[in-house]
């Protein structure tokens, strides 16, 4: 009896944590795993969603998207858009964070700049897209200023020209995303002990040496974490590109998200769209695993 009681108690103890976890496991299963598994299943079916009895397609849809030159162009555009965005988010974010952390700037001005610099972060992607469409339209403010300064000789169709469109959407995304870096790095800067800089001053270190040998190494964990997260988020940007260029002109701003959207809702090829979505999922998953390993290592 005592033995039975003991084993019953043991079982209860073993099951209890899972019972506590069960609500969140259920929610994760329903809201995350189920849609993910469904999309993966669709990518192996012919006429997924559109037919009640879809047949098994094997890797046909993956083959089809890998044979499509627009897919590879989209992948390249996604990488360019993401890498440039992350690099400039970090550079601008760092510059502004250093500026806002500096004692040489008047505190009132610093507070005003703090509000101004954070503004892009407050706008939704749709508002940002509309703002930049208006600013960069052929008869917009940017062309007008550049013409008056003599920097350009004629109006540039920033979003409508295949030569400039990808750079223009990347620029708009850089503008929208740097505040995340700025705020995170500013918090990091304020956490660096003053003693380090005082010791460096005694040693006669110059400003750039303090930046390279104290500030950046101290901020490195933040820089890597935020960069990885930004890479994952930027890879999935859709509304900004969709509203500014729709993936055009021609295919010059087609990224994986717009490519997948068009397959699903323009071509109604939900099987191929699912295959493309799975490719995006795998890339994101790889980056996420890298991020988790980095966090664990810390």
């Amino acid at each position: 009896m005592t033995r039975q009681k003991r084993s019953h108690h043991k079982l209860k103890r073993a099951v209890a944590p899972y019972l506590y976890l069960s609500p969140s496991l259920l929610i994760i299963g329903l809201l995350m795993l189920l849609p993910m598994v469904t999309v993966i299943a669709y990518s192996f079916q012919n006429s997924a969603v559109l037919r009640r009895d879809p047949s098994f397609a094997g890797l046909k849809h993956y083959q089809a998207i890998f044979d499509d030159p627009v897919f590879w162009a989209s992948l390249w555009h996604t990488l360019y858009f993401t890498c440039m965005s992350v690099i400039f988010h970090m550079t601008i974010g760092m510059a502004f964070a250093l500026m806002l952390n500096s004692d040489r700037i008047n505190p009132t001005l610093r507070n005003i700049l703090r509000v101004l610099y954070i503004l892009p972060w407050l706008f939704t992607a749709v508002i940002i897209a509309v703002i930049w469409r208006l600013l960069l339209e052929p008869n917009g403010v940017v062309n007008s200023i550049l013409l008056q300064l003599g920097i350009i000789g004629s109006k540039v169709e920033w979003f409508s020209s295949p030569e400039t469109a990808l750079h223009a959407v990347t620029f708009a995304n850089i503008w929208a995303g740097y505040p995340l870096f700025m705020v995170s790095l500013l918090a990091g800067l304020q956490g660096i002990p003053k003693d380090f800089y005082e010791a460096a001053d005694i040693d006669g270190a110059k400003a750039y040496q303090k930046l390279i040998f104290i500030t950046i190494p101290q901020l490195m964990p933040i820089i890597i974490s935020i960069s990885l997260l930004d890479f994952i988020w930027t890879m999935q940007v859709f509304p900004l590109i969709w509203i500014t260029t729709g993936g055009g002109p021609i295919y010059s701003t087609e990224v994986l998200s717009t490519y997948t959207y068009k397959l699903a809702f323009s071509s109604y090829n939900l099987s191929q769209a699912s295959a493309s979505a799975v490719v995006i999922l795998l890339i994101s998953l790889g980056l996420t695993l890298f991020y988790i390993r980095y966090q664990k290592a810390r």
Partner: protein
């Protein structure tokens, strides 16, 4: 006391149950999914349904309403899962896919059984010989001309041929003042510019982009149209930003006196007046090729209607379709929507009270409705493919012939 009331209560309850059960058995509830209700004055579509219910005792209608894009997705999923509403609002661009899924009922037997007068409807959309959709209300696309800009440019006679249009566009263009003759929206976000602003030139001259049910984009009509659009672009008459311009921006430019001419939906007349009450504009049919004197095809978008193949109440659903297509009801509906009727005998009230609509109605009556994308497979995808090739042509990367050939290749893969 209790003893006396009990049987009375039982009797009342039994009677109520009987009444309810009889009503439940007699009433058929039709589900009608569409995007029209949010676009009509509040409560007006419900009122039409109430009138239908009063005229057809035993049939109730539940409206399932949402924005256009949501309705499109809902109908696609409903068709796949067999849960499509009994009656569905349709866009011509969807019917081929829905028919391929076996989701739409053939209305031919229903028309025959009820001796429906087919001559009274403006069009019957058929796929594989099956009558799957009626356009209930049509929104035609004439050319809007800014009369003040035309007068300032010395355009005294409004263009009726392509050559005249090119001349007028050249005269109205003053790039230094941000003023252009024409506006062409070819955004890939909404590629409907291909249908409304490009192919409309082909249909206006009684020509076609198809031959024997297959794409014929390499034929003279489409290549000539592309050459004409290229000539407008080469002459610098098209407002810049073509590749990312949307229909909304096109209308904004016209409203703000920045373009002299645009092809646009008649549904925007009130919006244009609201945005710029001083704008002096007129409507003309889309100009034709030199020497063409036949009937002009008039591009249009429509609110179509069809019946679900899975509906258990097809007889009642057909009654609702007939009701909406009948002369008086159709006139009432299109008057509310500022659209042209699906019943040829219906006359909306705004055509007599409003000069611009009156003129457009004349254009409508002397021409015929033309939209060859209606009933084509993945119509939006076809427009996107054509759009990309047109953009390449306008960017100077290929000739009109090459653009037509590339689009033809892409389209054939979809057929």
């Amino acid at each position: 006391m209790t003893f006396r009331i009990k049987p009375a209560m039982l009797k009342i309850a039994a009677a109520a149950w009987l009444l309810g059960a009889t009503a439940a058995m007699a009433d058929t509830t039709l589900e009608f999914t569409q995007w029209w209700e949010p676009e009509l004055p509040a409560g007006s579509l419900r009122k039409i349904m109430d009138d239908f219910e009063a005229a057809n005792p035993g049939i109730k209608v539940t409206l399932v309403s949402g924005p256009y894009a949501t309705t499109r997705d809902q109908i696609s999923v409903g068709a796949a899962t067999g849960t499509l509403s009994d009656v569905v609002g349709l866009d011509g661009a969807w019917v081929n896919n829905l028919n391929a899924q076996g989701a739409l009922a053939d209305m031919n037997p229903m028309m025959d059984a009820s001796k429906f007068d087919k001559a009274q409807v403006a069009d019957i959309i058929k796929v594989d010989g099956k009558a799957v959709m009626f356009p209930v209300a049509s929104f035609v696309y004439p050319v809007f001309v800014n009369l003040d800009l035309a007068a300032q440019a010395g355009v005294t006679k409004l263009p009726s041929t392509r050559a005249e249009f090119l001349e007028a566009a050249k005269k109205m263009t003053h790039a230094d003042k941000n003023q252009y003759g024409w506006v062409l929206p070819l955004s890939l976000q909404t590629p409907s510019g291909v249908q409304n602003d490009m192919m409309s030139w082909v249909w206006a001259s009684g020509q076609s982009m198809m031959a024997d049910g297959k794409p014929a984009l390499e034929g003279k009509p489409v290549v000539d149209m592309l050459t004409f659009v290229k000539s407008l672009n080469d002459a610098g008459t098209i407002s810049p930003g073509i590749a990312t311009k949307t229909e909304q921006e096109k209308v904004e430019e016209f409203v703000n006196d920045r373009v002299g001419m645009m092809i646009d939906s008649l549904a925007h007349v009130n919006l244009i007046r609201k945005r710029n009450p001083k704008l002096n504009f007129d409507l003309i049919p889309v100009p034709v090729v030199e020497g063409y004197t036949g009937k002009r095809g008039l591009p249009y978008a429509s609110w179509g209607i069809g019946i679900s193949a899975a509906s258990k109440h097809q007889e009642e659903a057909w009654k609702l379709v007939q009701y909406l297509m009948s002369e008086k009801v159709n006139a009432k509906l299109v008057s509310l929507a500022n659209a042209f009727p699906g019943n040829v005998n219906a006359k909306p009230d705004f055509v007599t009270s409003d000069k611009a609509f009156g003129k457009a109605f004349e254009i409508f009556k002397t021409g015929y409705l033309a939209n060859e994308f209606t009933g084509l497979p993945v119509a939006e995808d076809l427009m996107t493919q054509f759009d990309v090739q047109a953009q390449k042509m306008l960017a100077g990367e290929q000739s009109p012939e090459q653009a037509a050939a590339a689009a033809q290749k892409g389209w054939m893969a979809k057929f």
